[in-house]
Amino acid sequence: MENTQTERKELVSAAIRFAGDSGDGMQVTGARFTHESARLGNDLATRPDFPAEIRAPAGTIGGVSAFQIHFGSTEVFTAGDDLDALIAMNPAALKANVKDLKQNGILICNTDSFTEKNLIKAHLEENPLDQDAISTKYNLISVPITTLTHEALSELELPKSAIERCKNFFALGIICWMYGRGVKETSEWVERKFKSKPEIAKANKLALEGGMAFAEASEAFSTVFEVPKAKLAQGTYKNITGNQGLAHGLIAASVKAGVPLVYAGYPITPASDILHEISRYKNFGVTTFQAEDEIAACCAAIGASYAGGLGVTGSSGPGILLKQEALALAAVVELPLVVVNVQRAGPSTGMPTKTEQADLLQSLYGRNSDCPVVVLAIASPDDSFDTSYLAAKIALEHMVPVILLSDGYVGNGSQPWLIPDESSLSEISPKFAQTDSAEAFQPYQRDEETLARAWSIPGMKGLEHRVGGLEKQDITGNISYDPDNHQRMTYLRAEKVKRVANTYPKTEVSGADSGELLVVSWGGTHGAVAGAVAEEQKAGRSVSHLHLRYINPLPNDLEQVLSRFKKILVPELNSGQLSLILNAHFDLNLTAYNKVQGQPFKISEIQQQIQNLIR
């Protein structure tokens, strides 16, 4: 029976966050809501935010785990600036997250958990639910979720703890009703997930349905917010995280090139999921190697490439530092290698679960001597497949190490991804040395166009040769201390990297190709910048957006593109690293906008910067 006063209201988009204790199942709740929304046809972006501690004491701020989703009927650029709704499962979750809720935003709290004990754990002197500051500023809906879950599951004979583990699905039921989406997909998922535990499956389904029925009947929930489906390009989609997309891009490149993938890693947040994901696909002939340390992982990847594989290693900033010596070896022996850096806030251990893009200069200049490598950056979860595929292609075709930059926001965040047709993937053609040549093999003989040396692999008859970290004589590859040769080889290695830019497509800007202001972004800030520029263009401002996928070498036509704008704005989640590079290369009227808080940009923050620079 539907509440007779139910009102239906259409929204273009909504940003909501599920927040609770680490053990409250917020990630799975968010993931299921995401799936229901994707199935309804919304565009969306998600952002999990979990603590670094595995099991922080229950009820504390340190133990709060959250999942944010922004879903809409038009293009969704980010996981959302401010929240339209917040679901807080305990006082700590409320305290840690309420600042992000819009004024008059919907605040759903599980009142059962607002006990004196939990208030103390959250360092709250008074119950915030009794304070005017909360109830007047927000649209507070107090729901005794734990009690109601017990009631919904009263017919089952389950221990108290098992029942209370279902309260997240009761909350999910409420939210699904509130945003006019069903729970069918989730019910089916529960059936699959708890196939061997039918009692638990039933409990979760009852909780889900209980939440729906409660919201429908309760006067506190008087509005259903409808977010219609978005106009997405035709095709088959799946929801994908940046780490998953990256993993799949590498596997696809390996299959397409006919070169076996060896992914060597050492556990590190937030890059470990790449190792986990790739290790599931052994039937694609891929090998994963959990090495004894970061250095070994990079060296094993180089060994794999030397033996004719696609060697890839992945880590985050602190681990990348340890790999730099080996990376320089790969640059000198001129073997393919992909080094993935899912950046996180630093320096040192920093804030492992928080995002940042401050390893750009480390990627460009973190090795001893002159040692350029190719550097690419992933823009968003739905870009991760393409960019990692490209990184592997460049490494294999140009015999060069490629650093592939991602970040915590991209790696853990998810978006719907339009699955490409297999035939649309570009060919990958590594050049192998010829075994039947009449002339003596010269390991450092180069391709005229790319300057790449040919790949000669142990086991190939007649191509026995030696490589190593000592300077090479041009062409023969023998050890050489000749001064002129060293200069020539240094320039050749740099020129080889530079020529990778000859393979880039034309640099495109979004918006007019000249004007007052160009916002230049790279990496995971793409969504926030694209969203801000779109808004400001709608408001009539002369602003365009250029997003750089290719960081090193920079595109050949970049200077031309930049020169058509009077001002350049470079927003970065670091202290101005791309700004430094652009200023070093070009004469620009450049303004840097920098944020280093471990948090992504809000669209509104970028908009403000644009407004500061142009009328």
Binding site: N283, A296, A300, I302, L329, R466
Partner: protein
């Protein structure tokens, strides 16, 4: 299959000028290895010589095979990557006491426990040679060098004991000056499936001359070394008149002549306890054990990894790109 052409020592010599100091122990190891390799009847393109950094690590440049001179201490990791892609390659890992036991200690331990199928030749000269004479992790306590003018104070590591602790499946000791003994060890090392670890005493005549002379010179070798052979009693001495027996848990030297001959231990290379006893024998109280000190059969890491991939292919079918792309929950927008 390619036809088998009988290779010679010359086939394994590269055109590069050998640049070790005159009189260096590395020359004889190089010559012994080059002389030994033809006997394996393996095409030379299937041999890969991988090294770290140090005097010994120049070795690959002098071998006319595939060779990779990598970075300090990391050869085990790089070699593991090679074997993951192609387990059929015959990999020779050349390292030294500093390379394997100091900067590369971690990789060395994990190589041994994983049992990657390759052979490690550790040239132990108990000194840093390439950096011109600092004490190494195998230098004796009190070693006076440029970096320790008052003498070193830290205890050296024993490579054989370390290898036993790291669960190595093949452990041997040989000397650069005993080509016959080294060749015999190389034969068994090459035949072993898994990581074959060979410590080779190698004299650095410039920075640590005579490091092994007390027990390694021809005149004293028989008296002061214990050449072990599987299934044979542990007997040594110029007159073969002494043997190793046990006094409780501790080893002791007994004479073969005075009725205690039946106490002498018979060597079993598969016994870890015996290997540990041998590793504990310290000169000059005891002779220095040489030869294959320990061996066990255990699945090699690279074989196991390759088998897992093959099994996954068999069970799930060879991965198809379209299956990968469309895996997971998908939906269609029309």
């Amino acid at each position: 299959m390619s036809e088998l052409v009988k290779l010679t020592k010359k086939d394994f010599e590269s055109d590069q000028e050998v640049r070790w100091c005159p009189g260096c122990g590395d020359y004889s190891i190089l010559a012994t290895v080059q002389r030994f390799l033809p006997s394996l009847d393996i095409p030379k393109e299937n041999h890969v010589v991988i090294s770290g950094i140090g005097c010994s690590s120049r070795f690959p440049y002098y071998m006319n095979t595939y060779g990779f001179h990598t970075i300090h201490g990391r050869a085990p990791a790089l070699a593991t990557g090679v074997k993951l892609v192609n387990p059929d390659l015959h990999v020779w890992l050349i390292t030294g006491d500093g390379d394997a036991l100091s900067i590369g200690g971690n990789h060395f331990i994990h190589l041994l426990r994983r049992n990657v199928d390759l052979t490690v030749l550790l040239f132990n000269n108990r000194i840093y040679g390439l950096t011109k004479g600092q004490y190494s992790p195998t230098s004796e306590v009190g070693k006076k060098t440029k970096s320790t003018p008052y003498g070193s104070v830290d205890e050296p590591v024993d490579p054989v004991s370390l290898a036993l602790g790291a669960k190595a499946t093949f452990i041997a000791r040989a000397s650069a000056v005993d080509a016959k003994g080294l060749t015999a060890v190389l034969e068994q090392a090459a035949a072993h499936k898994g990581t074959s670890f060979v410590e080779i005493f190698q004299n650095c005549n410039v920075f640590n001359d005579g490091a092994f002379k007390d027990f390694d010179e021809r005149a004293v070798r028989n008296e002061r070394q214990l050449h072990v052979e599987h299934g044979k009693p542990l007997i040594f001495g110029a007159e073969l008149d002494k043997g190793i027996a046990l006094d409780g848990f501790n080893p002791k030297i007994v004479s073969t002549k005075n009725g205690s001959a039946d106490q002498i231990l018979t060597y079993d290379k598969n016994s870890k306890i015996l290997a540990q006893i041998l590793a504990s024998l310290s000169f000059p109280e005891f002779p220095v054990p040489m030869g294959v000190l320990y061996q066990e059969e255990r699945s090699a890491y690279d074989t196991a990894v390759t088998e897992q991939v093959a099994q996954a292919k068999q069970r799930q079918g060879e991965g198809k790109l379209s299956d990968l792309l469309n895996s997971g929950d998908t939906w269609t927008v029309n």
